[in-house]
Amino acid sequence: MADFLTAYSIQNWLESCPQGYLMGTVYGHRPEDEEPAPLLENEVLREEAIRTTVQLVVGERCALAASSGLINAAPDEASKRFLATQTLDEARHVEIFTQRLLDLGVPKKDLESTIQHFANPNLVKFAEVLLEKVDKKDFVAGVVGQNIVLEGMAFSVFEMLHAVSEPTNPKFARMLSGTIADERRHVGFGENRIGSLIKQYPERKADVEKLQKEMSYWMLATFADAFRNNPARAEFKRIEGELSRAGVHAEWQGVDLLTKDPEEMEQILADTVLKEFKTRLSRIGIEYQTPDRP
């Protein structure tokens, strides 16, 4: 077994995560933090926050199903233990983002119907492509799909949401920063484990490249729906203008997101994620496949 696998221990996870950055948090945030009143009182913004949070729940439910499903397909004990910790991380993410839906005023009895109503069909397709590999117990494709493509996307999306939330919604920003910390371990496992496995099984490259291309397409289609066809864009523009005039900035990737149109934000996010995919995949010896643009 490669030496790097020894770091994937439950003890390591306990010290870093529950005994570390999650210490004292309640559903991922400080106990005293609440959703800001201007968000809860503005029906357009509240519905948009629900829509965004539903996509996070859908993505995290997929990650939970994938990481738990991959445990029995893992070829070594250390990977099984790491994926067990990742399973708990993903279950926590599902729980905290579901709790946020309740905090935003979704009645408990309407939770599932709200998730179904707002879930982006392209994100659902993205999840189906990945879970098909997991169901077949295809560890190499499953880890690339889960820990490099899905987690790589989540990493950038969470960072972008964090940049916007930090000056406006400390509760959501804190939830996201804990999630980003978890994602660092997940992308690290994906790169390091597949980096060594792909050397052992070079014949798997073509299949993995096809998976990346397909998942990337559904990801871009999800971004397009979220930014281009967003029903709250006029209200967003008004709020962003107010925040900018008040001297509030949301810096990410060297730009102030509050000064950007939705199409520009989509472009920045898509370019960032695809560039990261390309860099990560080339590091582990997989050739990045440019997806079709929706």
Partner: protein, 104 residues
């Protein structure tokens, strides 16, 4: 394991550098809380494209955290990124700055 610098380069890849002793650095906690407390001073969050790295710092290409050592880093050094558990080798990038490559 304490300092992320696990193994210093022993090959003289940069003769000018190798001829002088490595600088030492006092590290302070930067508020990075993603690793157990005893390791926190060895890491900090990257502040984006304008963030200047000190001679004892290198960015982890996997998770984008800045890794900090008590000693100056040089090409060929082996460092460890605890937040994402990656083993890295320090190299000199095309722009002359230090970068880290993942050792799979």
């Amino acid at each position: 394991m304490t300092d992320p610098l696990q193994q210093e380069s022993t090959t003289a890849k940069d003769l000018e550098l190798e001829s002088r002793p490595r600088q030492r650095f006092e590290l302070e906690d930067t508020g990075f809380d993603e690793v157990p407390p005893r390791f926190r001073k060895f890491y900090r969050r990257w502040r984006g494209p304008g963030d200047q790295l000190a001679p004892n710092e290198v960015i982890c290409p996997v998770c984008k955290v800045v890794i900090r050592s008590t000693r100056e880093l040089r090409p060929g050094d082996r460092v460890y990124c605890m937040p994402c558990m990656s083993r890295l080798i320090v190299v000199r990038g095309e722009d002359g700055r230090l970068e880290a490559r993942v050792a799979y």
